[in-house]
């Protein structure tokens, strides 16, 4: 008789969650490897343009970043919607770019001080006047290697 004993209740067995930590760790390691630490939070909108003829920026420690774009929504009430420059964690005017580059350059080890690249992370809706001013400033302090940072993609998408 006992062979045919009714199974107790109709309960489904609990799903084992023993492998949950493994799955989460996998996700964790994925994110740890593909992302980089934020060094400054963005105060400007930063939709980069697309380009196809791109080169990879090697060696992160040799790069100085300059962000340009219009202020993000929360700052628009105070700073308006005209594109602004962001250096480190604050807005800056064009004249401050030169001294910023010099200060950043002084922070780097001596042997890489003259191989630094300036990465311009500029929103695609910014106007060229500001960029021309920045480039003039970069020439003043002899930081001649620039990289217009872009996304990889069809450049004609920039027209929209």
């Amino acid at each position: 008789m006992s062979k045919f004993a009714k199974k107790k209740d109709g309960d489904l067995p609990a799903v084992s969650t023993a492998s949950l930590p493994d799955i989460v760790f996998m996700l964790l390691f994925f994110f740890m490897t593909v992302t980089t630490m934020k060094d400054s939070s963005l105060l400007v909108e930063n939709t980069l343009p697309n380009a196809t003829e791109i080169k990879k920026l090697e060696k992160k420690d040799r790069v100085i970043y300059i962000y340009v774009g219009k202020p993000t929504r929360e700052y628009q009430k105070v700073f308006g919607t005209e594109p602004k420059i962001q250096l480190n964690d604050k807005y800056a005017s064009v004249d401050e770019v030169g001294s910023y580059i010099l200060a950043e350059r002084a922070k780097k080890p001596q042997e890489i001080q003259n191989v630094l690249t300036t990465a311009l992370k500029v929103d695609k809706d910014a106007n060229m006047g500001l960029i021309a001013d920045i480039k003039q400033q970069l020439r003043e302090v002899n930081a001649l290697k620039v990289n217009y940072t872009t996304y990889e993609g069809n450049a004609f998408n920039n027209l929209q």
Binding site: T17, A18, L20, P21, V24, F25, L27, L28, F31, M32, V34, T35, T36, M37, K38, L48, P49, N50, A51, T52, E53, I54, K55, K56, L57, E58, K60, V68, T117, A119, V122, D123, K124, D125, A126, N127, M128, G129, I131, A132, K135, Q136, L138, R139, E140, N142, L144, K145, V146, N147, Y148, T149, T150, Y151, E152, A155, F156, N158, L159
Partner: protein, 211 residues
């Protein structure tokens, strides 16, 4: 006294919580950054003495505030910029026997475009009101024109595209011997089609500089 020799198992039930905590921390503090872009070298600050360049060797590209493109004083759509640049660079107008004669050029050897790729200068001029995205598009098309010509010659001489050569060259896994060989090849291609892109500040300045 009965002793239990088995070590009691540590409860791993909260492991998932700890891992989630770490995961969320990394999600918040990191970003997926792009680290690609167009490399350019700005001209040095000290003004170089003006060089005499014949007008036919200059390819004038300007972008106005409505993001319209003016190439050699004619309005052109952005799609045609690349082929127009290639035609200009690859023209090879210098006659046979001349010192600048370009034997690898495949252009139509017109007298009104560049003498040889070595002499050709692309002058890019953009209005202060022009949009950065469109400016990058123009830069991209000009680079594409150079890359296409360089790749053509690299395929012909070394059976390897120019961009592939650069990729192998910059790959840290390539050994030193292969690198130095590649460097010579890349330099050879670069001297065949040197990238001479001038961005003078104003139009007036440019005319003063080149006439």
């Amino acid at each position: 006294m009965a002793r239990n020799n088995e070590i009691p198992e540590v409860n791993a039930g909260s492991m998932a919580d700890i891992a989630f905590l770490l995961l969320i921390f990394f999600l918040v503090t990191t970003t997926i950054e792009t680290d690609v872009g167009l490399d350019r070298k700005l001209p040095p600050k000290d003004p170089t003495p003006p060089i005499k360049v014949q007008e036919k060797n200059i390819f004038r590209v300007s972008l106005n505030k409505k993001n319209e493109l003016l190439v050699e004083n004619e309005i052109m759509s952005l799609e045609n910029l690349k082929s127009a640049t290639i035609d200009f660079l690859d023209n090879g107008g210098a006659p046979k026997g001349d010192g600048n004669y370009c034997d690898y050029c495949q252009g139509d050897r017109s007298l009104y475009a560049s003498d040889s790729p070595g002499r050709a200068i692309v002058s890019l001029n953009s209005d202060r009101e022009a949009t950065y995205g469109v400016y990058i598009l123009v830069q991209n098309e000009l680079t594409a024109a150079y890359n296409e010509l360089r790749s053509r010659e690299a395929e012909r001489l070394f059976n390897l595209g120019y961009e592939e050569m650069e990729e192998i060259y910059f790959d840290p896994q390539t050994d030193l011997k292969a690198k130095s060989e590649l460097k010579a090849k890349i330099n050879q291609i670069r001297t065949m089609y040197p990238m001479q892109l001038s961005e003078a500040e104003t139009n007036m300045n440019l005319i003063a500089e080149f006439q």
